[in-house]
């Protein structure tokens, strides 16, 4: 079961036409006004040739026109692709091409990339939504399938090119409902969003508020602590979202007035990162009547795990947790072979989630998608353990090898070792330290070009990397195991090692 923002806002426009939906300083739209502008925007998009199933990209400026554009795009059945308002023309052009977008609605000067994009001015678009069209009709709204593509959020992750996270209508709905529940948002909330609107966090907050008939107050940039105070005075904001870094910035700017000002909020949600324990304790002490929530989320899942900071402030164990999943989110841990694992502090596992809020996949990344989903669960790159229902985060696993506390990147080792003249190719994985001292040690699987002696390779490597990165063992192998897409299969290498060790 799912619903769409457009369907709901259509109802809200009738039931609560004069309720403030979204505002930025003096620019304010009631639900009725928002609806009208969306309808007219849909008409403009149709005239521009946008069709159901198209991708339309737009600059996610922190102004009401962002919401109008977003909803208008969905209204005509196209997918909304969010562009960072501060993105470079190059980044925007990359995303435009990657998604095969038909239109880019922006006022950004695209410079040398302008020729490759079909652009339309966002200001012109928004102005066009002001008046009723003199001719022609507003297109009819066709309620989409739950699996239809609604949103695409680009995330760069830790490596490589940005990837498009595809969110279906069903996922978008579940994400906003999870935020609604996790935060404890109410219809009479006026939530201040001083974070970029192309990002998953701000987006889910905005969606949750608009779907439930609450009010969204926008603000540019979270370094403007004074603007927070202004917006509280102007709009009577009841909630705010921040990232951990902003909490510090705002504290530093407001100084001793921080508690006095921030106490105005009924709730504060901190996302896109974990508050430090010191921050959690300080906030719970300074803001006793404010609900403080620290959320774990991702572009791929929306906000999924919520920590009620007041509730855990007095618990020395749970205070370092990232919280508990909301009702409709399931979390489990997997071992390195991908089997279900009952985790503990000593035996953490890879976190997997499911609940209908997860993305459909990464756009045009079928290999990556294969690695990301298993049996209906979405796999993260995070190591966690679960205790008493609370999730504890140990950090991203990816391929980092922890050698006695030192982190070793296998790719770095491989890049260097590959330059050894007798080396054809190689791959590095972490294996348990037989001596039991270091935890893990790197092992290098080598495919020889010409037969060589270990000591020669070691001498070559010693001159080029820190001691702790040096592979503890070499394993000669005929060829490196690779998966269907030609990527080295590190898991298979670890299995070979285990077999060799008689495990």
């Amino acid at each position: 079961m799912f619903d769409t923002l457009n369907a709901r806002i259509g109802q809200l426009a009738e039931q609560r036409p004069h309720k403030l939906a979204i505002a930025f300083k003096s620019e304010r739209l009631t639900y009725a006004e928002l609806r009208q502008r969306v309808l007219r925007g849909a008409r403009i998009l149709t005239d521009l040739g946008v069709k159901r199933g198209d991708r339309v990209m737009f600059s996610a400026v922190s102004k009401p026109e962002m919401a109008v554009t977003y909803l208008a795009i969905q209204y005509v059945g196209a997918a909304a692709v969010f562009a960072d308002k501060a993105g470079t023309p190059e980044n925007l052009a990359f995303i435009y091409e990657d998604t095969g977008a038909v239109l880019l609605i922006t006022d950004k000067n695209m410079k040398e990339f302008a020729d490759g994009c079909n652009t339309y001015s966002l200001k012109t678009f928004y102005e066009g939504t002001q008046e009723d069209p003199t001719d022609g009709q507003i297109p009819e709204y066709l309620f989409p399938e739950g699996t239809d593509l609604a949103d695409m959020i680009y995330t760069s992750g830790t490596t490589g090119r940005p990837k498009g996270v595809m969110l279906s209508y069903r996922a978008v709905f579940n994400i906003l409902m999870n935020t609604w529940e996790g935060v404890g948002m109410r219809e009479d909330d006026r939530v201040l969003i001083p974070l970029p609107l192309h990002h998953s966090f701000a987006l889910r907050e905005m969606r949750a508020a608009l779907y439930h008939g609450a009010t969204v107050i926008l603000q540019n940039g979270f370094t403007f602590a004074k603007e927070i105070e202004n917006n509280i005075a102007e709009f009577g904001c009841t909630g705010i979202i921040l990232v951990p870094a902003t909490v510090g910035t705002v504290e530093k700017q407001m100084q001793e007035r921080f508690p006095e000002i921030m106490r105005n909020f009924r709730y504060i949600e901190v996302g896109a990162g974990s508050l430090s324990i010191a921050q959690k304790l300080r906030l719970s002490r300074e803001l006793p009547d404010t609900r403080i929530v620290n959320t774990w989320g991702s572009s791929e899942t929306g906000g999924a795990i919520f920590l009620d900071v007041h509730r855990v402030a007095g618990d020395p164990d749970k205070i370092s947790s990232i919280g508990v999943p909301v009702t409709n989110v399931e979390v489990k841990t997997l071992d390195s072979e991908g089997r279900d694992l009952v985790s503990s502090r000593e035996v953490p596992g890879r976190m997997a989630l499911k609940g209908g809020m997860e993305m459909s996949g990464y756009w045009h990344r079928s290999e990556l998608n294969e690695e990301t989903f298993r049996d209906g669960w979405l796999l993260t790159s995070d190591m966690v353990y679960i205790e008493d229902g609370y999730v504890f985060m140990l950090g991203r696993i990816d391929d980092i090898i922890n050698v006695g506390g030192e982190k070793v990147s296998p790719v770095e080792v491989e890049n260097i070792a590959s330059q050894f003249e007798d080396m054809d190719e190689c791959a590095c994985v972490g294996v348990p330290d037989k001596e039991g001292i270091l935890g893990s040690v790197p092992v290098l699987f080598v495919v020889e070009k010409r037969s060589f002696e270990d000591k020669d390779l070691t001498r070559f490597l010693s001159g080029r990397m820190e001691k702790y990165k040096l592979p503890a063992h070499y394993v000669r192998i005929q060829e490196l195991p690779r998966n269907a897409m030609k990527k080295v299969n590190r898991r298979a290498l670890r299995e070979i090692w285990d077999l060799q060790e008689g495990l």
Partner: protein, 80 residues
């Protein structure tokens, strides 16, 4: 120095610090997304050091950062 000279100086200073930003392209540098929070923090630092001023909390507001003119007005105010 007069206001025009001040604006010129600020423009030169910031263009050098943040060459990727076209400070003259807009009167709504913040609104239009040309300045992100990291750049704003950097601008505060650069202006503080260059002009020997401390930018108080009350003045860290958008309208002061939306244009070179806005920044010049801020510096002028704090120098007096």
């Amino acid at each position: 120095m007069n206001r025009t000279e001040l604006e010129q100086k600020i423009l030169e200073l910031l263009t050098e610090e943040f060459p990727e930003v076209d400070f003259q392209s807009s009167d709504s540098l913040v609104d239009d997304g040309l300045l992100d929070s990291l750049t704003i923090t950097g601008i505060i630092a650069a202006l503080s050091m260059e002009f020997g001023i401390a930018i108080p909390y009350e003045e860290i507001i958008e309208e002061n950062f939306n244009s070179i003119s806005g920044l010049a007005g801020l510096v002028e105010k704090l120098q007096n």
